[in-house]
Symmetry: C2
Subunit: 307 residues, 2 copies
């Protein structure tokens, strides 16, 4: 195979109590990319549609991730990359991660899979570092592994795929204001109380247990964040109104997607996820802020080939 | 049935990253209790062997737990309680919890189970409050439910039983120095850093995932506590030497049992758990401190009837 076309999923990182460790991939929201094997060494970004992003390899997250891949590989050729963005940068649903993950998964397939998913994640993290100054993995890991993924540890990198209940859907609203990951990190407090911590890891245990047992109510009860959400939510218009209202509508729970400004809600079943979208539309229509809403199943696979 | 004889398991609370939320029950270490239904209202502690503990109902953890049960019940009679202690108070393996759990589970069986396990836990927590000034549930919950139990939340009380891999064994060493739970709480710091927290809930997710999938290596990698252990371990003789050495021997991981001074190690298989016990004996023999060592399978059930 000399060329591959890929679907590169949007992802939700910092899933409530799983700040910095738990993310998930969306099945029907994402970019497409085309990767081509070339004799000429190095990475060339040949085309980007949908967004105005840098074509220079070293300034592009897919380019940087690809270079990290090439450096670890014994392949002497290179690749061309086309990126067709549908995920907006700064939206909080892993725009840069989709591009970084797409590049390295595509190259890996074209070279008959020399690297495993955890290795690919380390390459893609270099792209994330370019985008946000931090080589975090909680978007790129689900973009590569699919489903829910836990980054148990960074040193060494230890990624645990967590099963996803079959009827779990996400509703994500993206208010069209830009919150940069780096800015959103700056406002975080550096210390927390022990009693906040106990609630957080109690909920983390509950959320993982709920995912393993498809216990939707337990998933909902565990979608709490007593540490980061109270601080970051002040940057997001109507956050409390949206999260309270979607729970009244019937969502299992809701929280900040990544570092915001998007808000996600999880629901059992597509119909409920759509009703939740209507609830959010009603609230946001009154704000005068432009917004996008996505309804998607949680993806069972990460970046994958499309015909 | 007018009388029941019970096995009341010892328990390990504060399992590493699961401080205040995760505990487990031991299959072959515990007290026995006899509970008798009586027409006379109230609770009478008729006999205690093995330890010098108060017989006055309101000063005894089993008595106080029993009174909480009676207050919630519409039963107009009372109970007699005999306690045969094998677990030493102050040992860090749930001595008070075994008595409190035994009392309420026994009474519940004798009255044909009017209460569920979570309700019984709330009664037993009153006994814990007498023992340590805090109505914590992380020993009484596993003593009642068996296996690993997660206390996801206290308000409302939300207890999640977590499955236990079949070959999981605990080795517990109890150095004969007394560390009271209330004293051990006092030295804890009240705040922690965000980076400590991220490791803690990452490990919590990993530990629960490892228990669901019987992934012994993942369980071992997740048995880390970056928040409480570094502080509390200073009260425990040879803590670092013991925990390092048991891992070299082949234990999956190790930590402080409850608020100490006992140290627990988890191993795959009984033989490894016994080897781990030998390693600990070698270290503690040189200290001049008296100590007990227990090797036990993790219990699949909590307090239960014995013939």
């Amino acid at each position: 195979m000399e060329e591959i076309q890929l679907f590169c999923p949007a992802t939700i990182a910092n899933v409530s109590c799983g700040f910095d460790v738990l993310g998930l991939a969306l099945a029907s929201v994402g970019d497409t990319m085309i990767i081509r094997k070339k004799k000429k060494p190095g990475i060339t970004i040949t085309k980007i549609t949908g967004q105005d992003l840098p074509l220079a390899t070293e300034n592009n997250v897919a380019g940087v991730a690809g270079l990290a891949f090439l450096e670890a590989s014994d392949y002497h050729g290179g690749f061309e990359i086309e990126i067709h963005k549908k995920i907006k940068p700064g939206s909080g649903i892993g725009s840069s991660a989709a591009s970084a993950a797409g590049a390295v998964v595509g190259m890996n397939i074209l070279l008959d899979n020399p690297f495993n998913f955890t290795q690919l994640t380390t390459f893609a993290m270099q792209g994330e570092k370019l985008a946000s100054n931090v080589a975090h993995a909680d978007n790129v890991a689900p973009a590569i592994f699919g489903g829910f993924t836990l980054v148990r540890s960074y040193s060494p990198l230890d990624i645990i795929p967590i099963p996803t209940p079959t009827e779990l859907y996400a509703t994500v609203v993206h208010p069209q204001i830009e919150v940069k990951t780096s800015d959103s990190r700056k406002i975080l407090k550096n210390t927390f109380t022990l009693s906040q911590g106990i609630k957080q890891w109690g909920n983390m245990g509950g959320l993982v247990a709920g995912l393993y047992t498809s216990d939707y109510n337990l998933i909902g009860r565990s979608l709490e964040d007593h540490i980061i959400e109270p601080i970051r939510s002040i940057l997001i218009p109507e956050f409390k109104k949206v999260t309270d209202s979607v729970k009244e509508t019937g969502a299992l729970g809701a929280g900040i997607s990544g570092s915001g400004p998007s808000i996600f809600a999880l629901s059992k079943g597509k119909e409920m996820a759509k009703q939740v979208a209507e609830t959010i539309k009603t609230i946001y229509s009154k704000t005068g802020i432009d917004f996008d809403i996505h309804v998607s199943k949680i993806a069972s696979s990460g970046v994958h080939k499309i015909s």
